[in-house]
């Protein structure tokens, strides 16, 4: 490879003597400076490589870093290295400028061809992503159409899901866990689909329904409940960082964010196909508006997803504010829908994944060409658009007549004779104008002037790359789904939305089904649900995941049909009981030998406590007045700057970022909440009073059992009854200061009820 050798070491035309002199010059004047002043941050050995630039080989210097080539042999004036040494644009070394004679040495060295013996190949961190390998990454391959393995185990198999799962268990010689008993099943299904416990009547009805298909009937009943959209809509809201205040710097209320939330709940309840669900949120404003004004309004409302993010409204560098908002949108959309951390490529090519800064700015152009902000004022205002309403239009037209009439009267008056009348009329006109009936507003986007963005060097909006990147899709994914043409006159949002939801897209359906699986099983099949890049683990059941994704597409992206498919499988219905031998080998239950035990999230904990106390207000939609309201949790305000303490205590903490899954922590503040909070005390008392009323003639033993049925969907055992009776008498004794005996009794029972609410059995779903 003589040619490349020459190419690396310098000008081949130089005579031996000159070359030797120049090498000597390099060794004397250049190399020591590089080693002493540059290598700390710019070599393969650097603890942190700065600016993506290495200066420890000739090739690396020629290739340059994030800002472009550092050294252009023969042309010091075009070499960024010289600019930086002179502290012209960049300032290197940052601590102090090198002496003028040293800089002159570098200029001389470069003008003479930058002769450099360091002909090592590019080493270390500058190795670019291996694109061939990256394009073979499993998650970027088309979704397969796997055939469920044939299995001899006819009684357990209820669904193709079971065939995939059992196949993996049989590889180990394992058996699946028993099917859970009916009480466990209905409690699991009810929390899963509506986020509340089953009522005693619902449990009994299920027990009494001995016909086949009884569980399918439970699932259908739950899917038809308006509570279902409140539970599954909330899952989605985690992904798209829903909140009702801006957070960030200026914590302004987002008074219309709830309309977007209500849209999500309604669409989930209506089973809007998930591909449409995605298209409408990205580009509802660009779809042909339906004649029905409610439907037309819904399409606008859907795009609230892009607007509800946190923004630095008071950032005075408004260009930075704008590009930061674009970044926030890319991060949310890419992690939610693509399952990729595209936003990592804002400042440099992605360190692990085949996503380049060009890919990032191709997407950024799309969102930059979309209006999210209404203005760039000192404290800027986000976009809101009026909901179409013929009714309000008519009212406005009618009202406008009054305004016009008043204005005409005003115009007819003559100064100075009518000064007093003019004053009155003017006030009246102003007042009338204020009274003009207002449209309801939604947070929504619209198209801005389309434009392409250049790469921002190191993410800095003041340091732009030389050329604009055409708006488009991440290149590595366009092997499977061709990149759409983006018309010059459009932002490209609609094209992005259609591209994402193409049945050929390798990620969208997989990402979605992996999440749906996680929300049914506590663990996803692929363990990093919002990061499907090269660092992602292979799914525990790759074929099952692909089958589910295909099944979603075959079922016209119907989420409800996928609930049925999953929940009617034996896999879903397994008991969560652990077996010692399996547990030893597979502590994380990756093989799915049982269901997972799951802790309830903040919302179901709170809602269930209100529900069992018969205090849950089940009004649908709109804003609850405050976090104290007894509405379902999804309707409470979500203040990013001052989160409701109960939420943050139970791990609903992050409201400003895409949240791929709720953490499960166990902290004393949760215990304090369950022991001492007003809501727990009130609802325990309310439940106990209700049981006393409804079971007046029964003895304490049966009341205890009824309480267990309310909270755990099962009666109490004999031992539990005995133990509870003992507790109650001890508790009453400790309450001897309470004079009234019936009050004392109620307080003892309430304390017992609180104990049950605090128990693992209440807060975990088996």
């Amino acid at each position: 490879m003589a040619v490349s050798q020459v190419d690396i070491s310098g000008d081949p035309t130089l005579s031996g003597a000159t070359r030797a002199q120049q090498l000597e010059f390099f060794e004397a004047k250049i190399r020591p400076v590089l080693v002493e002043r540059c290598y700390e941050c710019h070599s393969a050995e650097s603890k942190i490589l700065r600016g993506g630039l290495q200066l420890d080989s000739r090739a690396a210097g020629l290739q340059g870093g994030d800002s472009g080539p550092a050294i252009v042999p023969g042309h010091p004036e075009d070499s960024l290295l010289i600019e930086a040494l002179r502290h012209e644009t960049l300032e290197m070394p940052p601590e102090e400028k090198l002496p003028a004679e040293v800089i002159a040495d570098f200029e001389a060295w470069i003008s003479q061809g930058a002769i450099d013996p360091r002909d090592e190949v590019l080493a270390g961190r500058l190795q670019p992503v291996d694109w061939d390998a990256a394009s073979r990454h499993w998650a970027f391959q088309p979704i397969g159409d796997p055939v469920p393995p044939v299995i001899e185990h006819s009684t357990w198999i209820n669904s193709p899901i079971d065939q995939f799962v059992l196949h993996r268990l049989q590889e180990m010689g394992w058996e699946p866990a028993e099917i859970a008993d009916k009480r466990t099943l209905i409690r699991r299904a009810t929390f899963d689909l509506i986020g509340l416990p089953p009522t005693v009547d619902e449990v009994n009805a299920f027990l009494e329904d001995t016909e086949s298909g009884s569980f399918a009937r439970v699932v259908d009943r739950l899917l038809d409940s308006p509570r279902y959209g409140e539970r599954w809509g909330r899952h989605w809201l985690d992904l798209v960082r829903y909140a009702t205040s801006n957070g960030a710097d200026e914590n302004h209320e987002l008074p219309n964010a709830w309309r977007y939330r209500d849209w999500v709940v309604r669409m989930i309840n209506q089973d809007l196909p998930l591909d449409q669900f995605i298209v409408q949120q990205l580009a509802g404003d660009l779809l042909p508006p339906p004649d029905d004004e409610t439907l037309a309004g819904d399409l606008l409302t859907a795009t609230g997803m892009l607007v509800i993010g946190p923004k630095m409204l008071a950032e005075q560098d408004k260009d930075k504010m704008t590009i930061d908002i674009v970044d926030e949108q890319i991060d949310t959309v890419a992690r939610t829908m693509l399952g990729l951390t595209v936003a990592c490529a804002r400042c440099h090519d992605h360190k692990f994944d085949p996503i380049t800064a060009r890919d990032y700015y191709a997407l950024a152009g799309i969102f930059y060409s979309t209006r999210t902000m209404a203005n760039r004022d000192f404290v800027s205002q986000w976009m809101e658009r009026p909901l179409p309403s013929k009714n309000i239009e008519n009212q406005r037209a009618e009202h406008q007549l009054k305004v016009d009439a008043a204005k005409a009267e005003l115009a007819a008056l003559q100064a100075p004779a009518d000064d007093e009348a003019i004053k009155q009329k003017t006030a009246m006109v102003e007042e009338l104008e204020k009274q003009l009936p207002a449209f309801d507003m939604v947070m929504a986007t619209e198209e801005a002037e389309p434009r392409n963005l250049p790469v921002h060097i190191r993410g800095n909006h003041l340091q732009l790359g030389p050329e604009e990147v055409p708006r488009g899709m991440p290149e590595v994914l366009t092997n499977s789904v061709a990149a759409p043409d983006i018309p010059a006159a459009s932002s490209g949002r609609l094209e992005l939305a259609h591209w994402l939801t193409s049945p050929e897209h390798p990620l969208t359906a997989r990402v979605m089904m992996n999440r749906v699986w996680m929300w049914h099983f506590g663990e996803p099949l692929m363990r990093s649900p919002s990061n499907w890049g090269l660092q992602a683990e292979v799914p525990t059941h790759p074929d099952l995941l692909d089958w589910l994704a295909r099944e979603l597409i075959r079922n016209h992206w119907s989420l409800k049909s996928m609930h049925r498919t999953i929940m009617l499988s034996s896999t879903y219905q397994m008991s969560s009981q652990m077996r010692p031998t399996y547990q030893e080998v597979d502590p994380d239950n990756r093989r799915l030998s049982r269901q997972n035990r799951r802790r309830l999230e903040a919302e179901p904990v709170r809602d269930s406590i209100l529900f069992v106390g018969s205090s849950l207000d089940q009004t649908v939609g709109q804003m609850a007045d405050s976090v104290e309201a007894k509405r379902r949790a999804i309707y409470l305000p979500v203040n990013r700057a001052a989160l409701y303490e109960m939420f943050s205590t139970f791990d609903y903490v992050e409201t400003a970022n895409h949240l791929e899954r709720r953490p499960v922590t166990t902290v004393p503040n949760q215990a304090l909440f369950l022991m001492n909070s007003t809501i727990v005390h009130e609802q325990s008392r309310s439940l106990i009073e209700q049981i006393e009323r409804e079971h007046l003639s029964e003895d304490d033993a049966s009341r205890i059992s009824v309480l267990f049925e309310h909270l755990f969907a099962r009666p109490a055992s004999t031992f539990e009854i005995t133990r509870t009776l003992q507790f109650l008498s001890q508790a009453e004794a400790s309450l001897s200061a309470v004079e009234d005996s019936s009050e004392r009794r109620l307080q003892a029972w309430s304390a017992f009820c609180r104990t049950l609410l605090a128990s693992n059995e209440f807060i975990y779903v088996e």
Binding site: Q316, K351, R640, A656, T666, N669, R723, L756, N760, E761
Partner: protein
């Protein structure tokens, strides 16, 4: 060292027997006294307690931090960064270029309305706004070359508290809690007293992607009013006597064990670790109920101590109380305590309002410093004073100054920093950091270092990569280390 890949491991048979063999009553009472004193007992290695005390990367100079945060941005050129040039050039235009982005337009240079004088053996210049702190300068390192990047309160607060004004990141206190845990298991590791709920709000003391246990426990708030209401949410309830709670906890543990016996899981040591952890958390909560009210009970302090903090005077009583509470929490093993005071944002009324605000904090701050010193706590407690930014040497109106993130002053005392020392300088006017510049990231790196943590090694894996408080920045400020 706690790291992010650590998950709860299976419970040992011994632990299991311990847990189930004795009821809560037997276990708890003997344990209660011992464990509330665990700061002396070394790290607890229980796998499920991420707050158990950890050892840092290298020996720590400071074991804990008290951060006095002056929300709004006090003027450095009117407090600790003396600029004689401002006297000379009062009313004249700034002879150097103003920054590209400014929060508001400012006019000509404005001299400080306060007289500066030299204090102590080190001869540090302090204005008449802070005579009490002035009397402590021989214990203090002033850093006069701090600079940040955001000219608005929200962004600047987030920058100081989380290192990022662009992305959602864990706060400094959360990182420190994650890195070191708590010295006292009965208390949270990170406490914030009277924080602002605007300008980034909870993000300023939140845990972002770190486990939520590392977020600050909030004590009172600006909105709820003074610290006299200091409390931890749900700490007690009138109808829950100690005795009744003991009965409940005992019952809770028994019901839970019993259930797993019935499920056939008990005997095989398969009782889910997270379930045990949950029961343990109830016991910790129970201990907190005992310990916390005692710490909040300031009546145990002598009259002399209360006077030292200015609690006996109306003007200083509120902040004095907060400072004293900070000392008590610190003494009890809380790792990071932030005390906020508002609102130093004098675009106008500089003379009147800075006088009032400094009057509220000067004596309590000096009192805290002296008290820490006389108790021998200052040696391993880092006391730090600062804000989100300083103010411009140029005037807004006739009696105001604008935000200035380009140069401002922090001071530190104790915890391994030099005493009676000055580091860095702003330019002649105090507009830009000039000598030995210390960026906010450098400040963070240095605070972590004093606590025995290497800012490049204190990482947490999230969304596919490792994160740090200092992102890809941060240089240790060697010059201030004692």
């Amino acid at each position: 060292m706690w790291n992010s890949s650590q998950h709860s491991k299976g419970v040992s048979r011994r632990q299991l027997l311990q847990r189930c063999g004795a009821g809560f009553g037997a276990l708890a009472l003997s344990d209660l006294v011992a464990r509330t004193q665990s700061s002396a007992a070394g790290p607890d290695n229980s796998p499920h307690n991420p707050l158990s005390s950890h050892v840092g990367h290298f020996p720590a100079r400071a074991k804990r931090v008290i951060f006095l945060f002056m929300h709004g941005g006090p003027s450095h050129v009117d407090t600790f960064d003396y600029k004689p040039q401002l006297e000379k050039l009062d009313g004249q235009p700034l002879p150097i270029e103003k920054p590209r982005i400014q929060f508001a337009q400012t006019g000509n240079l404005l001299r400080s309305p306060w007289k500066f004088r030299q204090y102590g053996e080190c001869g540090a210049w302090v204005s008449d706004l802070f005579p009490h702190v002035g009397s402590c300068v021989d214990d203090i390192t002033f850093i006069k070359s701090i600079h940040g990047s955001n000219e608005a309160h929200g962004g600047a607060l987030l920058k100081i508290n989380t290192g990022s004004d662009t992305f959602v990141r864990p706060s400094m206190g959360a990182w420190i809690s994650y890195g070191l845990g708590t010295e006292n298991e009965s208390l949270p590791s990170f406490v914030t007293i009277n924080p602002s709920l605007g300008h980034g709000g909870v993000r300023n003391f939140g845990s972002a992607f770190l486990p939520p246990i590392h977020q600050a426990t909030r004590i009172a708030t600006a909105r709820e009013g003074g610290v006299t209401q200091a409390k931890i949410a749900n700490l007690t309830h009138a109808q829950n006597s100690r005795e009744l709670q003991m009965l409940q906890l005992e019952m809770l543990r028994e019901l839970d064990s019993l259930r797993h016996v019935n499920r056939g899981e008990h005997a095989t040591a398969l009782h889910d670790e997270s379930l045990n952890a949950r029961i343990d958390s109830f016991e910790l909560a129970f201990r907190m109920q005992t310990e916390a009210p005692e710490i909040f009970d300031l009546s145990q302090e002598t009259e002399a101590t209360r006077r030292l903090y200015g609690i006996d005077q109306e003007q200083t009583s509120n902040f004095g109380t907060q400072c004293l509470l900070a000392r008590r929490l610190s003494e009890s093993g809380v790792r990071f305590i932030q005390v906020s005071h508002a609102y130093w944002d004098q675009h106008s009324d500089l003379k009147k309002e800075h006088t009032r605000l400094a009057g509220e904090v000067d004596k309590p701050i000096a009192g805290l410093l002296k008290d820490l010193k006389q108790r021998g706590l200052l040696e391993d407690t880092l006391l730090m004073w600062g804000a989100e930014f300083g103010r411009t040497p140029t005037a807004q109106g006739t009696d105001g100054r604008d935000h200035n993130p380009h140069a401002f002053t922090y001071w530190m005392a104790g915890g391994g920093v030099k005493a009676g020392f000055n580091y860095g300088a702003s330019d002649d006017f105090g507009f830009y950091a000039a000598e030995d510049k210390v960026h906010v990231h450098d400040l963070h790196a240095t605070i972590l270092h004093l606590l025995g943590l290497d800012h490049e090694r204190l990482t947490y894996r999230y969304g596919g990569r490792e994160f740090r408080l200092t992102d890809v920045e941060g240089k240790l400020v060697q010059g201030i280390l004692a």
